[in-house]
Amino acid sequence: MKALKFLLKKEFLQILRNRFLLAIIVLIPVFELAVLPWAATFEQKNISLCIVDGDHSSYSRRLIEKILSSGYFKLTSHEPDYDHALRRIETGHANLILIIPPAFEKDYVNRQPLKMMLVIDAVDGQKAGLGMSYLSQIILAYNTQIEVEAGNRTGAFINIKPHYRYNDAMRYQNYMVPGILVILVTMMGGMLSALNIVREKEIGTIEQMNVTPVSKSMFILGKLIPFWLLGLINLTIGIFIGWLIYGLFPVGNILNIYLFAFFYLLAFTGFGLMISNFAQTQQQAMLVLIFFLIIFILLSGLFTPISSMPEWAQRVTIFNPVRYFVEIVRLVYMKGSGIHDILPQLYRIFGFIVVFNFLAIVSYRKTQG
């Protein structure tokens, strides 16, 4: 135990001396939290719209006005016919074409069945999907409005008024900030510890340590503890910045996040250790870590909801520790979930702790001559 004290002293001395690392520890949370939540929003604005108005009536003009006043669309041009409009899509000037048929107003008033055509550039799938759904909603609302004005179906139509629980304003920041906290903890706690161990291998200091009476487990503990702490410090910096910039603070007990983060770090450093056993250089370790990190993050539900993934991908996410942490942080942040609500995820993390660290020990035994 005494040896551990000296190892930790040395490790902190090195970390505090490493200006670059210190800058990274502070700057990464600031940058990721100050910039990313604004950029990584799922809201789609400025969809370029091209309109072919075949009717030029007051009804069609009202519809166009309503669409443009929604703020989601940007009118690029009016075109006389479909062929011209299609060229706008082909040249990349428009994302969407709305074609209002001739006799739109007449048919409307006469209560004839009406058909409007939407043509969407689906190269950007998300933009296409959202554009289509925004536009349908607007047209539906327009329809209702006209009906009401005409006194046709007062009170008989369905009026949906959404109520977004736990995120009243549907602010994407509320949703992204907690997720980014997870990435911070993962990078700092999980990746840096692995890289640090490989560094000792790379510069040969591990050889000198190995001839001392310091046991291997003490050595590894001496490596992990500082990074567990750094991970939690980073989490704290992140929470502070989230509050400072976005006024976000967990609705639930903040200690639940720390509790979960602590066990999460135990699991993730086990994963890092496993990689450090196989890697001979920091470069190798870095590449492998980035490979897994990208998979873990893309399949974590941070950007794409897990429920919208295909069946097989959903099954893969079961083996992704990042997923559980993202869930928990969001739950505690927005819904105010308590310890009982996070237990199922916590048990899974216990599983990861056992499996990752077991594999780390086994691979360590195998790779040592």
Binding site: Q208, M209, T212
Partner: protein
Amino acid sequence: MAMWILNDLLNMKSIISIHHVSKSYEGRTPVTALQDISLQINKGELFGLIGPDGAGKTSLFRILTTLLLADLGNASIDGMDVVKDFRKIRMYIGYMPGRFSLYQDLTVEENLKFFADVFNTTIAANYDMISPIYGQLAPFKNRRAGKLSGGMKQKLALCCALIHKPYILFLDEPTTGVDPVSRKEFWQMLRALKEQNITIMVSTPYMDEAALCDRIALIQAGKIMQVDAPAQVIANYPFRLYKAKASNNYRLLETVKEQDNILLSYISGDQVRLVFKENDRRIDFPGIELEEVEPTIEDCFIQLMKNESD
């Protein structure tokens, strides 16, 4: 087994015993690093392991310092088995790997203090042991290890290997990449440590350093070719050795390689060294001065190597 014990009893004064140690590394092209090595190193001896790069020196050091397991054979340090008693051994040995292996981002003093801490001791308690060496480092004690010159780094590494008062010291190529003056100083330090009754096993690719050891083992391609005192190794040289000098040594070498009266010919420094098969000392090259010389360790090494390959 019984043989080894008997052997150890007969060699009471030996402190490092190596018995039939072999090691090979697997891979696409498997490498045999050590083949059936047996060695006895005596208490208080300055023992040199002399051989070129890739001869197996580092593998043997790593086995003795408990960092690597041998495939076959066994070894013991002062009666402690390198496999079973590895933890105990680590308390009593000092090891300086061939590559500089201290923390470059820590200062001289911090490195030394850290290794003292790890061995549960203090710099003050062992200061007498390191003082002659540390004395030279003291002016730089607040400098980071990474910013030291090559010679200074070696001195610091030696200090760190000595800080827990080991009585056996393993130095793997301590003078490789160090300037000639620092090399000389380093060997003086080793002699001084030997005075303090420390057994030192040192490896080097520099043949001229061999003469500074009490005994040497010449190692090549994982095999020990000869073990003896340096003077004795030279005395064992079986031939009369001549040196020849020409304006173009390479042309001279090419010429003599064509001749059938020459057993050995090679370039050493600014001369060609020659061993003749019999008394026919004819050289078909104009303007050659031939002179008989005393062989050096290098000459012995080359002759033994030739012997092995024949």
